[in-house]
């Protein structure tokens, strides 16, 4: 039997053109992102033997890009933990030896987020001006007006978190201004204008206590990360970024209104699993890239990954620790609130760029260990990356 436990590395990263309601097809955006990642790695399509994707279909992407035959392919149901699900699957596939070099792709368009839009669901069940019925999981939520993610995910978690721990809207506001400061140093960010605390506090509520500026910014984006073995990565264009540990956790089905624990949810068991697989400790981490689909999720990750205690993320942020120059620079690309909803992929890609020393005016000097995470609520995923030390 062949040894089936290989060291995994990131060989290349890339984005498509990213923006609001782009005129390109899904296929074109996928082509752009994969081409960028291959170029980053110094690879060609013939080097790829695996594809994992969240958005689109893995075999169709393989056919589209002339990558057949594939030794491994995975298509997310798109209701899993966004990019992290695909990334964890892809890392696991390369580690197992079932394939040697695989793409992890997240394709997301501005409307719908991979699920049918509410308008589309309404069209399926009847006209809005008469009796219409909603079945399945939605029958427990939709009749009460809880179908918006800012309500059933962001709102329920943020309210519970603020009520349980006394974290304030001002502390969330400071977090938003720091992330915007980072975005100003990132030419790829979509929102780069300076943001003040007063502007945050004046921004409208989407679903109280969630403000517009607590939400990630919807956009069209395809992101691609190429995972390969450490051995292969060392012969490529860029210095390898090694995957030290990876983890995922699920705590419920998709009805995030009925979680047993709204502030620990899937983030706690995912964090615990991640640290159980490495000798590194939170104090070893130089940069953090933590999902902020809603800003409360970023606070949950800070706490459960062990960078501060439960309920202490607000103070941690206020003390300036998450700023560039602080003890734990956080979301140095600006986070999804500013670079757009790339659904987790930007955190992995920015971590890799920091560890390669490619982050330009937002580079954290000497960064050797980075953590990235994605999702919250029903499911979550995370990975710890290092330089090739």
């Amino acid at each position: 039997m062949v040894n089936a436990s290989k060291r995994v590395a990131i060989a290349g990263v890339g984005y498509s053109e990213i923006g609001r309601r782009l005129p390109h097809s899904d296929d074109e955006l996928v082509r752009q992102a994969v081409t960028a990642a291959l170029d980053d790695a110094g690879m060609t399509t013939s080097d790829i033997d695996g594809i994992g994707t969240s958005g689109g279909v893995a075999l169709s992407i393989g056919q589209l890009l002339g990558m057949m035959p594939l030794n491994w392919f995975f298509t997310s149901t798109q209701i899993g933990p966004a990019f992290s699900e695909t990334a964890v699957m892809t890392i696991s596939a390369v580690a197992s030896g079932v394939c040697h070099t695989a793409l992890a792709i997240r394709l997301i368009r501005q409307a719908g987020g991979g699920r049918p839009s509410l308008e589309a669901m309404a069209a399926m069940t009847g006209p809005p001006d008469g009796p219409r019925r909603v079945g399945g999981d939605q029958q427990w939520t939709a009749p009460f007006g809880g179908s918006m993610p800012a309500t059933f995910l962001g709102g329920l978690q943020m309210q519970r978190y603020m009520s349980e721990f006394g974290v304030t809207q001002e502390q969330f506001g400071v977090h938003a201004t720091i992330q915007r400061e980072h975005a100003a140093r990132n030419p790829d960010a979509l929102l780069r204008d300076p943001l003040t605390l007063d502007e945050y506090l004046a921004s409208r509520f989407v679903s109280k206590p969630v403000r517009l500026l607590d939400c990630d910014y919807p956009c069209d984006a395809v992101s691609c990360v190429i995972f390969t073995t450490a051995e292969r990565a060392r012969d490529l264009r860029k210095p390898p970024v090694l995957v030290e540990a990876w983890a995922m956790a699920g705590v419920s089905d998709l009805d995030m209104t009925l979680l047993d624990d709204f502030t620990a949810n899937s983030v706690a068991p995912c964090s615990e699993a991640l640290w159980s697989r490495t000798d590194l400790r939170p104090s070893d981490v130089d940069t953090a890239h933590l999902y902020d689909g809603f800003s409360v999720i970023c606070f949950e990750w800070l706490e459960h990954l062990g960078f501060c205690g439960r309920g202490e993320a607000g103070a941690f942020v206020e003390e300036g620790k998450t700023r560039l120059g602080g003890s734990l620079p956080l979301n140095t690309d600006g986070g999804a609130c500013n670079v757009g909803r790339r659904h987790g992929a930007n955190f992995c890609i920015e971590a890799a760029r920091q560890l390669r020393g490619e982050a330009g005016p937002r580079q954290v000097p000497g960064a050797e260990v980075s953590v990235w995470s994605n999702a919250s609520g029903a499911f979550a995923g995370a990975a710890l990356l290092t330089t090739d030390r």
Binding site: A122, P128, G135, D137, G145, S147, G155
Partner: protein
């Protein structure tokens, strides 16, 4: 986030109404009679919501319907300020909430809070079910402060 349509149709009376299925029909039939019912595992006593075909604790398929007191406590809540649904857009802000029914921890239930001040909302606020006819042929189990 897209802006909701400005021309809300004030004639709309209907929220998205539940479409009962084989598993959930007993629940919605009970609501129509102003009874709050859930499944109870006859093997281990676990209470299930939403209804399933088997008990997640012991995997028994021996399930019976049981009546609840309707008393609950507040777990968390959010106040939508916009909605794609004309029914709800005409009612913003309203309170969408997760409550826990007192018979078991956890026994979570999604609902709306009514007859309460925003300032009074807090974790563990005691609540009681109230059955409201929100549209012709549509009764929903909402909760109000006990």
């Amino acid at each position: 986030m897209d802006e909701p349509s400005a021309d809300v149709n004030e004639h709309v009376l209907y929220p998205p109404m539940p479409a009962p299925d084989e598993l959930s029909a007993f629940f919605w039939d009970g609501i129509a009679r102003h009874e709050l019912l859930v499944m109870r595992c006859t093997s281990c006593g676990w209470l299930l919501h939403p209804p399933k075909g088997s008990c997640p604790r012991c995997l028994s398929t021996s399930l019976a319907v049981t009546d609840l007191s309707g008393r609950a406590s507040l777990v968390t809540w959010s106040q939508p300020m916009q909605s794609h649904e004309p029914y709800f857009q005409a009612r913003v802000p309203f309170v969408f909430a997760t409550v826990n029914l007192v018979e078991q921890e956890p026994l979570r239930f999604a609902t709306n809070l009514v007859d309460c001040d925003e300032d009074a909302l807090r974790i563990d606020l005691p609540l009681v079910v109230t059955f409201r006819d929100v549209a012709p042929g549509c009764t929903l189990p909402l909760f109000r402060p006990a």
